[in-house]
C-alpha cells in the first residue's frame, strides 16, 4: 500500500518538490473518500484543509436565489481543491460537491501553515506553487467573464 508521501509524490502538483519536503507535507495528510453527490466543502465554513485530488470529479458551486446552485468550475484527478486555507480569514468562498466518487489526500491547513512558518524554504515552495494555481484560475475566471462565446466577442 502506498504511503501518503508516495501519493503526493506522484501527484502533478508536487512534481519536482524534494522528497523530504513531500514527506513533511505528507505528515499533515490523510486519505479521504467521498461518494458521488456528497458535499465536500460548504461555502462560508472554515477552510481548515485542502484536497489533493487523485480520482473522481468535483464541481465548484455557487448558490443563486432563482437558478439554484450554479457550477462555475470542475476539478478532477491531478487538481488541487481549495486555496482558501492559505490566507485569513481561512473561510471557503465556494461550495464543492463530488460529481463522481472522489479519492483524495486531505491536508490539514493549520499543520501545514505551521510547518511553512518553521521552514521558510518549504513555505516559499508551497506558496509559489499555490500562487501559480491562483494565477491559472484567475486567468480562467477572466476568460469566463469575457463571455468569449457571445456574439460580440466572436
Amino acid at each position: 500500500m502506498k504511503s501518503i508521501a508516495d501519493l503526493l509524490h506522484e501527484h502533478p502538483f508536487f512534481e519536482g518538490l524534494a522528497w523530504d519536503a513531500v514527506e513533511l507535507i505528507a505528515g499533515c495528510g490523510h486519505n479521504v473518500h467521498y461518494g458521488t453527490d456528497t458535499l465536500i466543502i460548504e461555502e462560508g465554513e472554515a477552510a481548515d484543509v485542502f484536497y489533493v485530488l487523485r480520482r473522481g470529479r468535483v464541481a465548484i458551486e455557487i448558490p443563486t436565489p432563482r437558478r439554484g446552485p450554479l457550477i462555475i468550475d470542475t476539478l478532477g484527478a491531478g487538481d488541487i481543491l481549495g486555496v482558501s486555507w492559505l490566507l485569513p480569514p481561512y473561510r471557503w468562498g465556494f461550495g464543492a460537491r463530488a460529481i463522481e466518487a472522489v479519492d483524495a489526500v486531505s491536508i490539514d491547513a493549520a499543520c501545514l501553515r505551521g510547518k511553512c512558518d518553521d521552514d521558510p524554504v518549504l513555505g516559499y515552495a508551497m506558496y509559489k506553487r499555490f500562487a501559480g494555481l491562483v494565477r491559472e484560475r484567475l486567468q480562467a475566471t477572466r476568460l469566463q467573464l469575457a463571455d468569449l462565446y457571445g456574439n460580440d466577442a466572436s
Binding site: 464541481a59 465548484i60 458551486e61 437558478r67 439554484g68 446552485p69 450554479l70 457550477i71 462555475i72 468550475d73 470542475t74 478532477g76 491531478g78 460537491r97 460529481i99 491559472e136 480562467a140 476568460l143 469566463q144 469575457a146 463571455d147 468569449l148 462565446y149 457571445g150 456574439n151 466577442a153 466572436s154
Partner: protein
C-alpha cells in the same frame, strides 16, 4: 410557316464574383440564434470544398456573408449560421425551397498530416465547431491513420452546444471528445471551465501532434498558446481566422491583416504565421 426568328443568346455571366444558385433543402434550428442549412444546387454546383474552406452566401436583396462550410456531401453543402447582422439574419430566416446564391469555395483549409500515425488535437469554441466539423468527419473516416484523436469543445453553457447528436458517433470512431462549458446548473455532469484547461490534460504526444483550433479569436489565442506550451510546434498548430471578407478573392483588401489576405492566404493559418498577425490591434 412562321417567320424566322433568331433568338438572342441568353447572357450568361460567369466569373469569381458570380454566385451559383442553390436551393434550401433543409433547415434545422440548432440554437435560439443559430441554424444549419443544407443547400442543393439548382444548376452547376460550386467546386467540391475542402474542410476549413468557406463560401460567400448571398441573401438576395440583402447582401453577401462569408460562411464556413460545416459539411458537404456530393453537391450538397451544409452551413451553420448565427444571426449577427442583416445578411445572416436573412440567411437564418430562409426555409426549404428558398434560393440562395453561393460563391466559392474559397481560402486555405485544414491540412491533416498526409501520412503517419500522428496525434490529432482539435479544439473548438462555440460556433467554431462548425468549420471543424468536416475535419472531425475526415478524421473519423480515416481514424486508423492517427494514433490519438482528441476533440475538445468549449461553449458558454450546455444549451449552447452544437451537433450534440453527432458527438456519440464521433466517440464511436474512437475520437476522445471532452466538452466544457463556462457555467452550468447542477444537472450538468461534464466539465465546467475554460477549454484551455482541457488542453493541459489532453493525452497527446506533443512532439507528434497536429492541432486545429477554431473559435472566438481570444479563445484561439489562449488555446494555441496552451497547445504550444505543451510542446507542440507552432507550425503544427492551425487556426481559422475570421475577418471582414467581402470579395473573398484577395482583391478588395477588407480582410487584410498585416501582409495577409485572410480570404486568400487563410482562413486557416499556422500559429507561427497567425500569432504576430493576431497581435495587430483593430483600429
Amino acid at each position: 410557316m412562321p417567320p424566322d426568328v433568331v433568338a438572342e443568346p441568353a447572357v450568361v455571366t460567369t466569373g469569381p464574383m458570380t454566385p451559383r444558385m442553390y436551393e434550401v433543402e433543409s433547415r434545422r434550428e440548432d440554437l435560439a440564434d443559430t441554424v444549419t442549412l443544407t443547400l442543393a444546387p439548382t444548376g452547376e454546383p460550386i467546386a467540391p470544398p475542402e474542410p476549413g474552406q468557406f463560401t460567400m452566401l448571398w441573401a438576395f436583396g440583402i447582401g453577401e456573408a462569408p460562411i464556413s462550410l460545416a459539411g458537404s456531401d456530393g453537391a450538397l453543402l451544409t452551413h451553420t449560421i448565427r444571426r449577427v447582422g442583416a445578411v445572416t439574419r436573412a440567411l437564418c430566416d430562409v426555409g426549404p425551397g428558398d434560393q440562395i446564391g453561393v460563391r466559392g469555395p474559397y481560402g486555405a483549409g485544414w491540412q491533416l498530416p498526409a501520412v503517419g500515425s500522428d496525434d490529432v488535437l482539435i479544439v473548438a469554441g462555440g460556433l467554431g465547431l462548425a468549420p471543424l466539423r468536416p475535419l472531425v468527419e475526415q478524421v473519423a473516416a480515416h481514424r486508423d491513420r492517427f494514433r490519438q484523436a482528441t476533440l475538445l469543445i468549449g461553449a458558454r453553457s450546455p444549451g449552447d452546444l452544437l451537433y450534440l447528436s453527432e458527438v456519440d458517433t464521433w466517440r464511436r470512431h474512437a475520437i476522445d471528445v471532452e466538452i466544457t462549458v463556462d457555467v452550468a446548473s447542477t444537472d450538468w455532469t461534464g466539465h465546467v471551465g475554460v477549454v484551455t484547461f482541457l488542453i493541459d490534460k489532453a493525452a497527446i504526444d506533443p512532439s507528434a501532434t497536429t492541432a486545429f483550433v477554431c473559435g472566438p479569436e481570444v479563445m484561439m489565442r489562449f488555446g494555441a498558446q496552451a497547445i504550444a506550451d505543451r510542446g507542440v510546434l507552432p507550425s503544427s498548430i492551425q487556426l481559422s481566422l475570421e475577418r471582414n471578407m467581402h470579395c473573398a478573392i484577395g482583391h478588395c483588401g477588407h480582410c487584410q491583416l498585416g501582409p495577409a489576405f485572410v480570404c486568400k492566404d487563410g482562413p486557416v493559418l499556422q500559429w507561427s504565421a497567425a500569432e504576430p498577425l493576431m497581435r495587430i490591434r483593430a483600429r
